[in-house]
């Protein structure tokens, strides 16, 4: 006899399937019919939990927000120099995304689809980096410790390098740099970035 799922378990199972399908096909590529078929429930059960496909998509994003990275560990150490903290934060971030590649896939789809709720969500996740880089580069620049640089452009360029590493390690089925771990590539990237600004 199959076990009847509680309302909460049912809701979780819908979110799990929706997460996988939105990651593979994007928001527009998935229909409610396809989701309910894969979960094995009727559309009315899905609508009991989520009023629309948009509401379900936002619930998936909300699930991801619970996995937002904490960088406290990386900043409580005595060594809070720019490079050390940036390396610590980047390692936390890339390892978090590597462990949940659906997040990166949904982000890529949202970029093409122009889904503003999703774009805000993902921009906010990257903002931990851009805020940190912009603030610290401005401070280092005021102290005359680095070359003059547009701090916002530098932060965006750093974000782009991190994203490319994630695309390589999470999405692309290629041999390129497959002898290098993501942590090794992060170290390489930080070293290049430091050469650029100092």
């Amino acid at each position: 006899m199959s076990k009847r799922l509680s309302a909460e378990e049912r809701r979780d199972s819908i979110i799990e399937v929706a997460k996988r399908l939105f990651a593979e096909k994007g928001f527009h590529g998935v229909s409610i019919d396809e989701i309910v078929k894969q979960v094995g429930v009727s559309p009315s059960i899905l609508y009991r939990h989520f009023s629309s496909k948009e509401a379900l998509y936002e619930a998936v994003l909300h699930e991801f927000s619970a996995t937002r990275e904490s960088y406290v560990e990386t900043v409580v150490d005595d060594d809070t120099c720019f490079e050390t903290v940036l390396r610590g934060m980047t390692r936390v971030f890339v390892n978090s995304i590597v462990s949940q590649p659906e997040l990166l896939k949904m982000e890529m789809h949202s970029q093409l689809e122009g889904n503003s709720a999703a774009q805000d969500f993902f921009i906010n996740r990257w903002k931990s980096f851009t805020d940190y880089i912009e603030y610290n580069l401005a401070e280092l620049q005021n102290q005359g410790k680095i070359k003059p640089v547009n701090v916002q452009a530098a932060a965006l360029i750093y974000q782009g390098m991190v994203r490319e590493l994630l695309l390589l390690k999470c999405l692309q089925k290629t041999d390129r740099l497959n002898n290098k771990s993501i942590d090794e590539l992060v170290d390489q990237m930080i070293s290049l970035f430091m050469q650029m600004i100092y």
Partner: protein, 75 residues
């Protein structure tokens, strides 16, 4: 509640508010209080973890009008 220094971290995502608070606390004497105002919802959990790890006391943590206010007493 009275405080000895104030940090405005509105509009900034963690860990920058934590890092700036850490620097501000370093400039205080033991027993003095730093008030921090932040808007990142992640700051609530992060300041709790920060105080636990550094031994400073999180005297209060409150939300008002979309902002979060923390009072931290230096140990």
């Amino acid at each position: 509640m009275s405080f000895d220094a104030e940090l405005d971290a509105k509009g900034l995502n963690c860990p920058l508010p934590i890092l700036r608070a850490k620097k501000a606390i370093a400039a205080l004497n033991p027993g003095q209080v730093l008030k921090i105002v932040a808007t990142d919802p992640g700051s609530v959990k992060d300041f709790e973890a920060f105080c636990k790890q550094t031994g400073n006391e999180l005297v209060s943590s409150a939300e008002a009008g979309g902002a979060f206010e923390f009072m931290i007493k230096k140990s």
